[in-house]
């Protein structure tokens, strides 16, 4: 984005794609698919002390059709996996997926018959936030990385 200060009233010259990217980056509507322990850290991150609202991601949407970011928070077992996939399929483009916590990244230390070994086996994942559970700072870092990714990708209009 280029800001040019001319004579009289100022104007901003930019490409449409960059403007869209900038807008998308700061208005993330998150669908928290909360299943387990990481949900506690999600609550901490979302509430006053760490405040995800600073990044324009403060308002969770519990309807997949209104959400841009699917935040998969907590262990995904084989029983819940089809539902997760269904929620993902219901979301409108553009959409991003964040794997929140070790279980969603790799299965974590639940290396057993019940747990999906990483949600990237069923969904495309954009950002991985490791940690069991990740600290709120790590979550915010992941969120900023997602914003960077959104900003730099090709914007489908």
């Amino acid at each position: 984005m280029v800001i040019e200060l001319g004579e009289g009233p100022g104007f901003i010259a930019t490409r449409l794609e960059r403007a869209v990217a900038w807008a998308r980056k700061y208005s993330l509507f998150i669908y928290p698919f909360v299943t387990a322990c990481c949900g506690m850290e999600y609550m901490s991150t979302a509430s006053g002390h760490y405040d995800m609202d600073r990044f324009g991601a403060g308002l969770p949407r519990f309807s997949p059709r209104q959400a841009d970011v699917l935040l998969v928070v907590g262990t995904i077992s084989h029983k819940i996996a089809p539902l997760l996939r269904r929620v993902y399929d219901q979301m409108c483009e553009p959409k991003w997926v964040v794997a929140f916590g070790a279980c969603t990244c790799t299965g974590g230390f639940y290396d057993n018959y019940a747990t999906v070994q990483g949600i990237d086996t069923i969904l495309p994942v954009d950002i991985y936030i490791p940690g069991c559970p990740p600290r709120p700072e790590a979550v915010l870092d992941g969120l900023m990385k997602l914003q960077l990714k959104i900003e730099n990708q090709k914007q489908e209009l």
């Binding site: 698919f33 909360v34 299943t35 387990a36 322990c37 949900g39 506690m40 850290e41 609550m43 901490s44 509430s47 006053g48 002390h49 969770p60 519990f62 907590g74 262990t75 077992s77 029983k79 819940i80 539902l83 997760l84 929620v87 230390f109 639940y110 057993n112 018959y113 019940a114 747990t115 069991c132 559970p133 600290r135």
Partner: protein
């Protein structure tokens, strides 16, 4: 039947609530049958967060099972840690040190407060009280910081050890804890002002989701839910463990067993927990936190005499003090012989690096295929979890791995009796009632 009659014919509607629903704490699916807006039948389907807790424990050593217990009730992980460790200690026949007991009491109560804060926060938010949610989350953050300072982790602490705790309190914790408790108390009283006499909140919760005393007994529901229904049962009072028998606290009781009573009981329990922490901080003795360096100490001749008389009860844990007149006892690292206590707790680093016995002891406990060996047998030990009686049934076949670790999760029984609290009320009351139950999927499905 005329066509107009046929068009007036009504069917009950089946509505699926969950498993991914904003008002479902965690993942559970409620199959509800509705007549108009009245709920006439509810069935709960569970198992969406089954993570094979038992199987994982069977495949790990006794100590390695501790992190799995963190993630049972992830809102109050410390209580789970201590519950599991206490069950194994019971099987081993270990009595932990006084300081260890008080540390466990203090941290259990902090955990209980965080659990109740979360429960009230979430259920109030679902009824529209976003402010209360933010205030209580702020209070929880104060306590998480204390927990982090002591255990090194905010949530998944793994702080309990078989035979004690991971480490002692850091310097000056008591003062900081007192500051944080005062701040927490302030938030709680703030929320008390916001909710307790709030017309909307009272209307949504009073006489809604009533759990009768009989039903609470029938479904063996314990904890705040049973106490709200008027059942005086608290494991801390009924079967005192750790140091609870020396601490003065009250068990709040409700009368009607509705959502509002459950809310009040939880609020009062938080105040009682703060009271317990204050007393424990005052009474906490100095000394070691692990059973390793302090256990029942006896003179060696007394030990031998007792044994000769056949009074071997409890001798297995006793430390025999060797007479200084005997040869070989003046070596600095061998002032005392601790024959049995080496079973569970790692020796001090001075011993590990300083002498061969300490080194062997360390490796025997650490190495795969060695580790803590619990004598064959089984036992049940219950602690008062934040949601009720949290019991651990541990069985050992004498090897270094648990034969079985079965958990009695308090939520499971509440889910069995859930339909009695929802049927006959409105659809909108499902949210209010379900929030007040504090279902935790981690311990429900394990």
């Amino acid at each position: 039947m005329s066509p107009s009659d046929a068009s007036r014919e009504t069917n009950n509607m089946l509505l699926n609530v969950g498993p991914s629903h904003p008002a479902m704490h965690g993942v559970i699916r409620l199959l509800t049958e509705l007549e108009g807006e009245t709920v006439i039948k509810v069935e709960a389907e569970i198992g969406y967060l089954h993570r094979a807790f038992e199987k994982s424990c069977e495949n790990s050593s006794w100590t390695q099972a501790v992190p799995y217990t963190d993630r049972l009730n992830y809102v109050s992980p410390l209580i789970n840690n201590f519950g599991y460790c206490a069950a194994v200690e019971k099987l081993l026949g270990i009595e932990i040190t006084e300081r260890g007991k008080y540390i466990r009491v203090i941290l259990s109560e902090i955990s209980r407060i965080t659990d109740h804060l979360t429960c009230i926060a979430a259920s109030a938010m679902e009824l529209g009280a976003m402010t209360a949610f933010l205030y209580l989350m702020k209070a929880r953050e104060y306590l998480y910081e204390i927990i982090e300072e002591v255990t090194g982790a905010r949530l998944t602490t793994s702080y309990g050890r078989i035979g004690g705790v991971k480490g002692d309190f850091p310097e000056g914790l008591a003062k900081r804890l007192e500051t944080e408790l005062a701040k927490t108390e302030k938030e709680i009283s703030e929320v008390d002002k916001l909710l307790t006499r709030n017309r909307i909140f009272v209307d949504r919760t009073r006489n809604v989701g009533v759990l009768t005393k009989e039903n609470a007994l029938h479904y063996s529901i314990t904890g705040p839910m049973a106490r709200a229904a008027g059942i005086y049962y608290d494991v801390r009072k009924a079967f005192p463990y750790f140091a609870y028998d020396r601490i003065d606290f009250e068990v709040p009781l409700g009368e009607r067993g509705d959502n509002y009573d459950r809310y009040l009981v939880r609020m009062e329990e938080m105040r009682q927990s703060i009271r317990i922490i204050r007393q424990a901080l005052k009474d906490i003795p100095e000394g070691p936190v692990n059973v390793y360096s302090e256990s029942k100490t006896m003179k060696s001749f007394e030990l031998a005499d007792e044994a000769k008389l056949g009074r071997t009860e409890g001798l297995v844990n006793a430390i025999s003090e060797v007479e200084p007149t005997l040869g070989g006892t003046e070596r600095p690292f061998h002032d005392r012989i601790m024959p049995k206590d080496k079973r569970a707790v790692l020796p001090g680093k001075g011993d590990t690096y300083g002498n061969i016995e300490g080194l062997m002891n360390h490796f025997k406990l650490i190495m795969n295929g060695h580790g803590i060996r619990v004598p064959p047998g089984d036992t049940y030990f219950a602690v008062e979890g934040a949601n009720g009686e949290l019991g651990f049934y541990v069985a050992s076949d004498g090897s270094d791995r648990p034969y079985r670790v079965r958990v009695r999760p308090p939520c499971f029984f509440a889910m069995a009796g859930l339909h009695t609290m929802l049927e006959g009320y409105m659809v909108a009351d499902i949210v209010a009632t379900f929030g007040s139950i504090n279902m935790i999927a981690g311990e429900l499905d394990r």
